[in-house]
């Protein structure tokens, strides 16, 4: 069958399924199960209204359960068993094995570096860009351009940045931007940027910062616009200079948004995989947890340790998750 036809059928089945399910289940509830007539009409309407929200929620809950709740439990189970031994329970053996590997600690260290630097730099650049473009006639065009990398996939960005860091043997002409600039500034020989231990982590982070700055800028620029003008005017009247206005008046008023941006980017960073996978594949001391896990699962075929690594990522995300649920709760009250 032609794939276009398959796509069309998927859409029809999906949407038709949604509409049909929704219509028929509501009809069934109102007309068959608890009809709003006869002796119990009033009670039936109440009953039907108690059940109705579940009709709306059921498909989403089913999808969430199948693809979210079940896998989390299953991964926990896998991390405690040995697949080669027929799924026997081995307790913490996988974790012990993982903690004994230097590669794991390298990944942990790098993840921590990513976790500190990428959100901080993206938010700072985003804030700077939001503030600088705020007063420009062509500010919106500038914003669109800064934001554009956000629409590009991580893999695409990784390939683009590979061109930036590209290195050729010394006797050939360089095509990597960074090396070309370096040589034109008078350096003797090109560098292989991605193999310089420790610092290569920062070259990889640059890619994610490049992507996420646009996101931070858009959100923060909306927040900056939302600041009441009176507060800024009052500061000007009192003789505050632009830096004081920015740091003492504006920043405190958008602190909440900065925290949201920061945590959102933190979540992205914790899961970062594509960039490392496509650029260095964790070689030359650039391993991160997500790629370590992928390595264990698909190259070493060690499901226990791979799942254990996934649980570590989950553990790192949990504080942010709890904090967000807590905040959502506070908002309700």
């Amino acid at each position: 069958m032609h794939p276009a036809l398959q796509g069309l059928i998927t859409i029809i089945v999906g949407v038709g399924g949604c509409v049909g399910y929704y219509y028929l289940s509501n009809q069934f509830l109102d007309k068959v199960l608890f009809p709003a007539r006869g002796a119990n009409a009033g009670r039936n309407i109440n009953r039907a209204n108690m059940i109705r929200p579940w009709l709306f929620l059921a498909p989403a809950l089913f999808a969430l359960g199948l693809y979210l709740a079940y896998p989390v439990v299953e991964t926990l189970r896998l991390s405690l068993t040995d697949r080669d031994a027929g799924g026997a329970f081995v307790g913490g053996a996988n974790y012990a094995q993982m903690f004994a590997e230097p590669k794991f600690w390298e990944a942990m260290r790098n993840n921590m570096l990513w976790l500190i630097i990428v959100p901080a730099m993206s938010t700072a650049f985003g804030l700077l860009a939001a503030q600088l473009t705020d007063r420009l006639a062509w500010g919106n065009i500038a914003k669109s351009l800064i934001f554009m990398p956000m629409a590009i996939s991580f893999v695409g960005a990784a390939v683009i940045w590979k061109l930036v860091y590209d290195t050729r043997p010394i006797e050939q002409d360089q095509i990597g931007i960074l090396n070309a600039i370096l040589l034109s500034l008078g350096a003797e020989e090109p560098r292989t940027w991605l193999t310089i231990p420790f610092w290569n982590n920062f070259f990889l982070m640059a890619v994610l910062i490049w992507i996420q700055t646009g996101f931070a800028m858009v959100i923060l620029s909306a927040a900056l616009r939302g600041i009441p003008e009176e507060t800024v005017e009052a500061a000007i009247v009192d003789g505050a200079n632009p830096f004081q206005i920015f740091f003492r008046i504006k920043i405190p008023q958008i602190a909440g948004t900065i925290v949201v941006v920061w945590t959102t980017i933190t979540i992205v960073v914790l899961k970062v995989f594509d960039i490392v996978f496509a650029m260095t594949n964790g070689q030359w001391e650039t391993q991160v947890l997500a790629n370590y896990m992928y390595d264990k699962l698909f190259r070493a075929n060690d499901w226990g340790v791979g799942s254990a690594a996934a649980m570590i990522i989950m553990l790192l995300v949990t504080p942010i998750l709890v904090w967000n649920v807590y905040n959502a709760r506070k908002e309700m009250k």
């Binding site: 794939p3 859409i11 969430l64 007063r135 002409d173 995300v317």
Partner: protein, 282 residues
């Protein structure tokens, strides 16, 4: 008036802006400019190290045709569309239903369920990898387009529902109550009252999910094996290996992969940004 237009400020800061900003912009976009310039060059230019200068020959069309002829790029691209478009439609329609159920009705479990969706939003996708792959293999959905659609739709539904719930919650509830008092059935309230009000949210969410799913790479590598079901993101990586030293082809291919989401972004910029703001701040 505040902010003061830059034209009315002092001369040094004006010059600072006029010089510094465009320079910063060019540095920011340098990787993109470079990859575009590389994609229109011929092999001769690249090998002679002419990367900043004007191309000696323009090979825009030749290079892009070469990508399509030398690789299954067209198939990858079409696969991406077959995966992304149904996912967007299914996830957004499911989310409309669930968001409505979660925000309009008062029932005991509404709050815990809402927290479940918030929490589900933060679960790292790595933790799902093994079970989801196993499940796909067992049900024969591994290495198919349908399998990817199903998974993406289910995975995105959590975020979409949250998004829709917050949006509907902010709508004037009197409208819905008035309709109820008039005796309009729940079915008709949803279709004639709520859905029209949700249009901006639907547009924003659709644009957002389109880029998310289009740009996904992780699940594309986890859920596919052969060539036939690969989307363009996974394809770009495969082409990267195939074209090794031919940077003009690699550049053309990776730009090709970025065209739909970037075009979408520029066409629907307002919705895209509205979606990000709504999704992040709430």
């Amino acid at each position: 008036m505040f902010p003061t237009p830059i034209q009315r400020t002092s001369a040094p800061s004006r010059i600072g802006y006029q010089v510094f900003l465009p320079v910063a912009m060019i540095i920011w976009l340098l990787p993109l400019i470079a990859i575009f310039m590389t994609s229109v060059r011929g092999l001769k230019d690249i090998n002679s190290g002419n990367i900043f200068g004007w191309p000696t020959e323009f090979k825009l069309i030749e290079n892009y045709i070469a990508v399509f002829e030398a690789s299954p790029a067209l198939m990858y691209l079409m696969n991406s569309f077959y995966i992304t478009i149904p996912t967007v439609i299914v996830a957004v329609s499911l989310a409309c239903l669930a968001g409505y159920g979660l925000s309009i009705y008062r029932f005991r479990l509404a709050l815990p369920l809402f927290f479940l969706f918030v929490a589900g939003n933060f679960v790292p996708f790595q933790i799902l990898m093994v079970p989801v792959r196993d499940f796909s293999v067992r049900t024969g959905l591994y290495d198919t387009i349908q399998g990817q659609v199903l998974f993406h739709a289910a995975f995105q539904t959590g975020f979409c529902t949250l998004f829709m719930r917050n949006f509907i919650k902010a709508l004037p509830q009197e409208l819905i109550e008035a309709a109820r008092v008039e005796g309009v059935s729940e079915l008709k309230i949803f279709w004639y009252v709520v859905i029209p009000l949700m249009r901006p949210a639907i547009a924003a969410l659709a644009v957002l999910i389109f880029t998310f799913v289009w740009n996904d790479f992780f699940w594309a590598t986890v859920l596919t094996q052969g060539e036939t079901a690969k989307p363009i993101t996974a394809g770009v990586r495969a082409l990267n290996g195939q074209f090794v030293a031919n940077w003009h082809l690699v550049s053309a291919a990776s730009l090709l992969a970025a065209v739909p989401p970037v075009a979408m972004f520029f066409l629907m910029q307002r919705h895209f940004i509205a979606g990000l703001t709504l999704g992040a701040v709430k």
